[in-house]
């Protein structure tokens, strides 16, 4: 550094302008690069934070988030630097800015044209200061860092609120599986059907999702309804069978008692054996559900019913009733039927038909010809569930009075506002009656009603009426 005394006596410090310009350019480049890097890193951190949230929300745990983050930072920094270097101001622009800031009056800019060394000593060569107002950028960077860190550290439960989550239907599935097992054990459904239902339940459990719970709930409801309907149908059938068995048991007990007393004629026993068979057939014990539970033995030793046969029959009935009752109880245990149905079954299992004693007594006293009617007497009557056979009766036709439409000719409309004055008659108005044989054929008025005044009447729809009315009111005005 040396001093020069000018003609004006002023001493100007001679500093190397070249070094000052280079320092200025270096500072400018660094500031611009750092600024660009901060901007790009901020953008990357925001994008990275969003990416973390998405990845963690989707459960992509195997993605190396930290590695990606660090790599992204490096790439953003280097990319920003390269990007900024390619967009740096030209050397001429930097020289012009240096010239301007130092108030050199074009002396430095004239370097490109010739030697200005003599003049350069007369102008100051301070390195211009560069100030980057980075408050906003740094705040954004801090926010980006905070966002990325929060995204990284946030517990998964706050992120996976929208992700696929299985429904809590395990208990319900277990209950349904138990119901299906019960139905399968009681032979109410076939083995293949049971396996199919169990597979459906397993599939539902696996595919149930919080995104669409209604589908799962509907499928479960449908399965539940199917099993319940099946169980209810079985319970109703069991109730009917128990009722039939109760009737047969009562009759058998009454017969056994009568035979032991000797009050029953021997010739009637053969008919009663057929009656038993017919009754049990009508009860359809060998059809529908619970067929495997029947222990009845209707193979009597002879056509005539013996005491041993009756005893064997009673034992079979007892065992069958017991088995059916137990099966219904298991259905109730599996909550396939309600307590009321179970109670009805249990009651039917314990009940006996006491009124058959009187019937037997009547038969014993009037054996003549009764053997043919015994089956009919025992198998009919009483309250049953058969269809009603009452005939339909067709009476007189209803009168049309009050229901038929009556035509009424409406009076002529009084369109006073559309009437035109054409003259004054000399006498009172005379009503012209139409001639009886007057021909109405031909002409434009053919087929018109009494209220039509013109050959062409436009129909005014209700929605147009107001507009037409306003139009004529305007014409008046």
């Amino acid at each position: 550094m040396r001093g020069h005394r000018h003609a004006t006596g002023e001493i100007t410090k001679d500093i190397d302008h070249t070094r000052a310009k280079k320092a200025f350019a270096r500072k400018l480049i660094w500031v611009l690069m750092i600024r660009r890097a901060v901007l790009w890193i901020t953008i990357w951190l925001f994008a990275y934070g969003v990416g973390i949230l998405v990845a963690r929300g989707l459960g992509l745990q195997q993605v190396p988030l930290s590695t990606i983050g660090i790599l992204g930072l490096v790439v953003a920094g280097i990319g920003a630097a390269v990007f900024q270097v390619r967009r740096l101001p030209t050397a001429s622009a930097i020289r012009a800015a240096y010239d301007h800031l130092n108030s050199c009056g074009g002396i430095i800019m004239a370097e490109e044209a010739g030697d200005t060394t003599v003049w350069q000593t007369r102008v100051p060569s301070r390195v211009p200061s560069l100030r980057w107002h980075a408050t906003r950028n740094l705040i954004l960077l801090c926010l980006a860092i905070g966002f990325a860190t929060t995204s990284l550290l946030l517990p998964v439960r706050y992120i996976k609120f929208g992700a696929k989550q299985p429904l809590e239907i395990g208990q319900l599935i277990q209950e349904l599986k138990m119901e299906v097992d019960t139905l399968k054990e009681e032979k109410l459904i076939q083995e293949e059907k049971a396996i199919e239902l169990l597979n459906q339940l397993s599939k539902l459990q696996n595919e149930s999702s919080g995104f669409d719970p209604y589908k799962t709930w509907e499928a479960l409801d449908h399965l539940k309804q199917s099993t319940s309907d099946l169980a209810r149908q079985a319970a109703e059938e069991a109730l009917a069978k128990l009722d039939t068995l109760a009737t047969v048991e009562s009759l058998a007990m009454a017969l056994q008692k009568a035979m032991e007393d000797g009050s029953l004629a021997p010739e009637i026993t053969s008919s009663i054996a057929h009656v038993f068979t017919a009754m049990l057939d009508s009860g359809k014990l060998s059809e529908g559900f619970f067929t495997n539970l029947s222990l009845l033995n209707l193979q009597f030793t002879s056509n005539a019913l013996s005491t041993a046969d009756l005893k064997s029959l009673l034992n079979g009935i007892q065992c069958t009733r017991c088995n059916i009752s137990n099966a219904v109880a298991r259905l109730a245990d599996a909550k396939l039927i309600d307590a009321k149905t179970l109670a009805q079954c249990q009651k039917a299992c314990l009940s006996t038909k006491t009124n058959l004693d009187n019937l037997l007594a009547y038969l014993c006293q009037n054996t003549n010809g009764c053997d043919q009617n015994l089956a009919l007497l025992l198998l009919t009557g009483g309250v049953d569930r058969g269809p009603g056979n009452a005939p339909m009766i067709w009476g007189e036709e209803s009168p049309e009075q009050g229901a038929k439409f009556k035509e009424i000719a409406l009076p002529t409309s009084g369109r006073i506002e559309t009437a035109q004055f054409i003259g004054v008659s000399i006498g009172p108005p005379v009503e012209i009656q139409p001639e009886e044989n007057a021909s109405t054929t031909g002409g434009t008025l053919t087929g018109r009603g009494t209220s039509d005044h013109t050959a062409h009447v436009s129909m005014i729809l209700p929605r147009h009426r107001q507009a037409v009315q306003r139009y004529f009111q305007r014409e008046k005005q």
């Binding site: 101001p89 012009a96 301007h100 009056g105 074009g106 800019m109 211009p128």
Partner: protein, 357 residues
């Protein structure tokens, strides 16, 4: 190709001819003495004096605008005295005819007895023409100056006659008396390098004038510039170097006066109807050279451009009616433009600021 070669040669020549301090010193000395004379004779108009001298060094015409009694005519007369140039004055009136300015042909009998049309030059044939109250003449008469101001010549009856060099038109006009006046057309205004506004003098200056000068008479100049010295100034002016970034700055500045330009400011877009012409850019460049010369530098800087931009542009920018409503004038529009335009075109972001500590 030919043009490119010429340009390269011009730049090369300029690069070799950047003035040395000792080469610039005589011109600076002449300018300093001229300004000293002006400042001594006409008190309180230092800025106007410098701008008028810049206009003369740039060989430009100047329009002086102000109310009567502010010393417009005195300034022109004093300049002519100091520069020792021929000076003529025309008082423009509504009945002034072009022939009264340019001259006319008169039928005369020669000594041989023949009759011929003889040209009698008008007052335009001078070095410094004071067109006093130029807006009082009719457009026909005003238009008579168009050729002279641009071409420095007069064409009459098919004959073109060159004016004496240097030739300057220094016109005055009164902005308050508008009755019976004809506002100068844009083509005429554009031919003036500067439009300078004369403001009222400060009280101290007026006091000094009436205390020191009897009846306000101007003192005679104690020094006058010779023809050779004036030519030296013009030659020095030609060697003032205009760097490319400065030329670009001038071009951008003039372009930015047009609404819709990418660098136009909000005030330009809002208030300007028509921007400045390329002639404005040429005027600014020449005036900036002269300003650099006045500052004792061989090169033009951005400060020189900023110093002359306002008087060079204020009559070339046409404002719209919105500007009248908002009471915005061209000075404010140009000031906004100068403040916002990035001189070096560094393209720095807004949050990065440069300064000198």
């Amino acid at each position: 190709m030919n043009t490119q070669t010429t340009q390269i040669e011009f730049n090369s020549k300029m690069s070799q001819e950047i003035l040395k301090p000792e080469e610039l010193a005589p011109a600076t000395e002449l300018i300093t003495r001229t300004l000293e004379q002006l400042d001594r004779i006409l008190i309180g108009r230092n800025r106007i004096h410098r701008l008028v001298l810049i206009g003369i060094l740039s060989r430009g015409h100047i329009l002086l605008e102000g109310v009567p009694g502010l010393g417009k005519t005195a300034l022109v007369r004093t300049i002519a005295q100091i520069l020792k140039l021929e000076f003529k004055r025309i008082q423009f009136t509504p009945d002034l005819m072009p022939s009264d300015i340019l001259g006319t042909h008169i039928l005369q009998q020669t000594e041989s007895g023949k009759r011929e049309m003889v040209f009698h030059p008008g007052p335009i044939f001078t070095n410094i023409l004071l067109a006093d109250e130029i807006n009082r003449a009719s457009p026909k008469t005003q238009s008579a100056l168009l050729e002279t101001m641009q071409e420095n010549s007069v064409t009459l009856l098919g004959t073109t006659r060159m004016l004496p060099q240097p030739f300057f038109v220094l016109a005055t006009q009164n902005p308050i008396e508008l009755e019976g006046t004809y506002p100068l057309p844009e083509a005429q205004l554009d031919r003036f390098m500067f439009r300078l506004f004369f403001s009222h003098l400060e009280t101290d200056v007026i006091e000094k004038i009436i205390f020191e000068r009897r009846r306000g008479e101007l003192p005679p100049p104690t020094w006058q510039m010779g023809q050779a010295e004036l030519n030296l100034l013009f030659q020095t002016m030609n060697r003032i170097y205009l760097a490319k970034p400065v030329a670009r700055y001038i071009a951008r500045l003039v372009s930015a006066t047009h609404p819709g330009n990418p660098e136009a400011t909000e005030s330009v877009n809002r208030y300007v109807a028509y921007g400045a012409s390329p002639r404005a850019a040429i005027s600014i460049a020449e005036a900036a050279r002269a300003h650099a010369l006045l500052s004792g530098r061989p090169t033009v800087g951005f400060e020189d451009v900023k110093a002359v931009a306002e008087p060079a542009l204020n009559h070339r920018i046409i404002l719209n009616y919105q500007a009248r409503l908002d009471r915005v004038n061209t000075t404010k529009v140009i000031s906004d433009l100068l403040n916002h335009l990035d001189e070096a075109e560094l393209g720095l972001p807004q949050d990065v600021k440069l300064s000198v500590s």
